[in-house]
Symmetry: C2
Subunit: 240 residues, 2 copies
């Protein structure tokens, strides 16, 4: 019965990970409420992708929340400094990148939590994973657990003995595994956007930032075709 | 030396508690960065009070961040339902009030944390206290501690071995004690606003919502004069 499904808020940026997370939540039987936070990120194409993904999947409701985080924090992703390009896998995996947005997942999860509590959802899903992005502190499982604990103490629901689960189902997966999972669950990756800095005409993915490089490599490793059109050079794999 | 002071972000709503918290942070020697989140609350007069308080105190910088939380959550404080009036002290202290905003302090602290990390602040102060407001889960010390733990795990600073403290110096205090402390530290309470639903001409405090009642009682118990002009009846105490 549609009306009896448990609800889940899923944080949806419009990329591979969050779109796959929507698919996981749907597959687990949740009624999905997708939340996109428009925090002034450079890659505004993400917002359009999030809308597209929500429409194509059976998302119950999709909200875009505007938050002028760029006035408060400094990051290459909110318009300060350059997005690194052409880095090697070792470089991408090492240290905290300039694209780290201070406390971003804490902010995103708290907003997801607020909505979840308001609509009586029993879980907040986030696409965080720490294998390819080892440099982001707020993608680690320890952080997710600690946030869930704080959420239990800081909500009405928690005080009344309930618990809103904070779920990061992709936590231990590599990009290629995420892509394979998403494909199996019906994610249409042509609707997703990964690029940190879409440039050129039609906002094509640059193909050189960390996110594009990890995406390309993920599709290669998974043996699936990357439907992305990259600036200056067609698709990553063969045309279908 | 001004330049060598440690920085602290203080969440400032413009009420008695947060204004006193600014004073505590200043008194401890911090350079204060005040953050007001305009989350669509009914009592928009708070925003003006926050500006006024920041100007009168030696706040280094004051930011007002707009966040359309009212589109996401339901609460008497964001425009849904009526703000309760004329309740007894026992009623105010019992249960979770309609004025509870889902996960509000989690959201506010996460935004404070984002700014703190961005400017290299070592603490985020919040005026939360759980004696008069026992019904708000996110005002309890257990929540504050759990959030600090999550913050340590979810920030670059935490990953590098540092720690942004989450401070709630008023946690164990009654309103009368907070007022006495604020007065001693030079808070000018005529600049502050407590009312959940300022009405009438010039946005006077209603004098009947939980927040007005706790404020009135706090001034009475502290033996200090309440400079507030309440709707329909002059000041709470004698004119000065």
């Amino acid at each position: 019965m549609e009306g009896e499904k448990e609800r889940a808020v899923v944080l949806l940026s419009g990329g591979v990970d969050s779109s796959t997370t929507v698919a996981v939540a749907l597959d687990e039987g949740y009624e999905v409420y997708a939340l996109t936070v428009d925090y002034g990120q450079r890659h505004r194409r993400e917002i359009r992708s999030a809308r597209e993904v929500s429409e194509r999947m059976r998302v119950r409701e999709h909200r875009v929340l505007r938050l002028e985080l760029s006035g408060l924090v400094h990051s290459a992703l909110t318009g300060d400094g350059d997005v690194p390009r052409g880095r090697s896998e070792a470089e991408i995996g090492y240290g905290i990148p300039e694209t780290y947005v201070p406390a971003r997942n804490t902010v995103l999860l708290s907003l997801g939590l607020a909505w979840a509590e308001s609509i009586g959802a029993s879980a907040v899903f986030i696409g965080a994973n720490s294998v390819d992005y080892s440099g982001y502190p707020d993608c680690r499982p320890e952080f997710i657990s600690a946030f869930e604990e704080a959420a239990a103490l800081g909500t009405r629901c928690g005080q009344l003995g309930g618990r809103i689960r904070i779920r990061a189902p992709l936590a231990g997966m590599r990009k290629s595994e995420i892509i394979a999972l998403g494909a199996r669950l019906g994610v249409e990756f042509d609707a997703t956007t990964s690029c940190y800095d879409p440039s050129g005409e039609n906002g094509l993915a640059c193909g050189e930032c960390d996110s594009c490089l990890i995406r390309k490599r993920g599709f290669e490793d998974s043996g699936l075709e990357d439907p992305t059109r990259y600036a200056g050079g067609g698709r990553a794999c063969s045309e279908d």
